[in-house]
Amino acid sequence: MPRPPRRLVFVWLILLLLLGGNIALAFVGLSVLAPVAHIAVAATMAVTVLVIFMELDRGVSLFWVFAGAGFFWLALLFVLTAADYLTRYSFTPS
């Protein structure tokens, strides 16, 4: 059995650290900002997995396009639906 590549061990530790940080954030009481902060940390973790574990950094550029397309199109759904929600009601729930 070969030794684990140091790079992977390092990334694994970083992911665990980010996870710990995210859980800690949940108990801080950021109220409105909490979901934003949580998702930002989660996105950092996700990008780390995508780039290192899924080796986007070593793949051809077309892989970036394919991987990015899914997220880009999802963003279209979120942004334009939000355009409705954020302006639809006369009240803003926080």
Binding site: P2, V9, L16, L19, G29, M54, W73, L77, A82
Partner: protein
């Protein structure tokens, strides 16, 4: 029949491998939208009912959720390692690492099953028997509707992943993968990591809201 045939539409094995990898990336893009659609449903419902959702989410089992996240991240680490080993032509060690990955996946599902049993015991299954002691149990019921749907679909993906890993682990054990031919390991590994990425977001949306005092 040989273990790896060059299909007629490809020029060589590298052409075939890279095409397979492109295919799984495309599939992942569609999965991003599939699961992203569920996240959208969650997100806009939560926008309308921030209080009710947060209150309901605080009734989830954070301990199991956290351990499961660690289990999945660790499984991804082993899967990555396995993929590197396969690329170096070390087929059998790669197979062992895959088995560790699959085992961690099974641990995840086991813990999830325990959590599900708890949830059902606490009447968190949506429908007539649902009960939740928060000021806004109706939003809470919808939160748990999403909880079961999201975690259920994730668990299904994981199950598929475990199955796929066991299949290629068996091939790895027979020494099939070489420096020239290891694209099935890459393909399965990408799928596995993606399921991990989904969980990273799920964990945040399900277990963390409503924890602040």
């Amino acid at each position: 029949m040989s273990e790896h045939v060059l299909e007629k539409q490809f020029v060589d094995l590298a052409h075939q491998s890279e095409t397979a990898e492109l295919g799984i990336w495309g599939f992942i893009a569609t999965e991003v939208l599939f699961l992203g659609g569920l996240f959208a449903a969650y997100g806009f419902f939560r926008y309308l009912h921030p209080v009710g959702v947060a209150a309901a989410a605080s009734h989830t089992d954070l301990a199991i959720g956290t351990v499961n996240t660690i289990v999945l991240l660790t499984s991804s680490f082993f899967m990555s390692w396995s993929s590197l080993a396969a690329r170096d032509g070390e087929s059998r060690p790669a197979g062992v690492l895959m088995l560790i990955t699959a085992a961690l996946g099974i641990v995840f599902l086991g813990l999830k099953a325990i959590e599900y049993a708890e949830d059902i015991h606490e009447h968190l299954w949506p429908g007539p028997g649902f009960s939740l002691s928060t000021p806004d149990p109706k939003s809470g019921e919808v939160f748990y509707f999403l909880y079961w749907l999201l975690t259920g679909i994730h668990a299904l993906h994981l199950l598929v992943g475990i199955g796929a890993i066991l299949v290629i682990a068996n091939r790895a054990r027979r020494g099939v993968f070489t420096r020239a031919y290891h694209s099935p390991v890459r393909v399965v590994s990408l799928y596995w990591h993606f399921v991990d990425v989904v969980w990273i977001f799920l964990f945040v949306l399900i277990y963390l809201p409503g924890r602040a005092p």
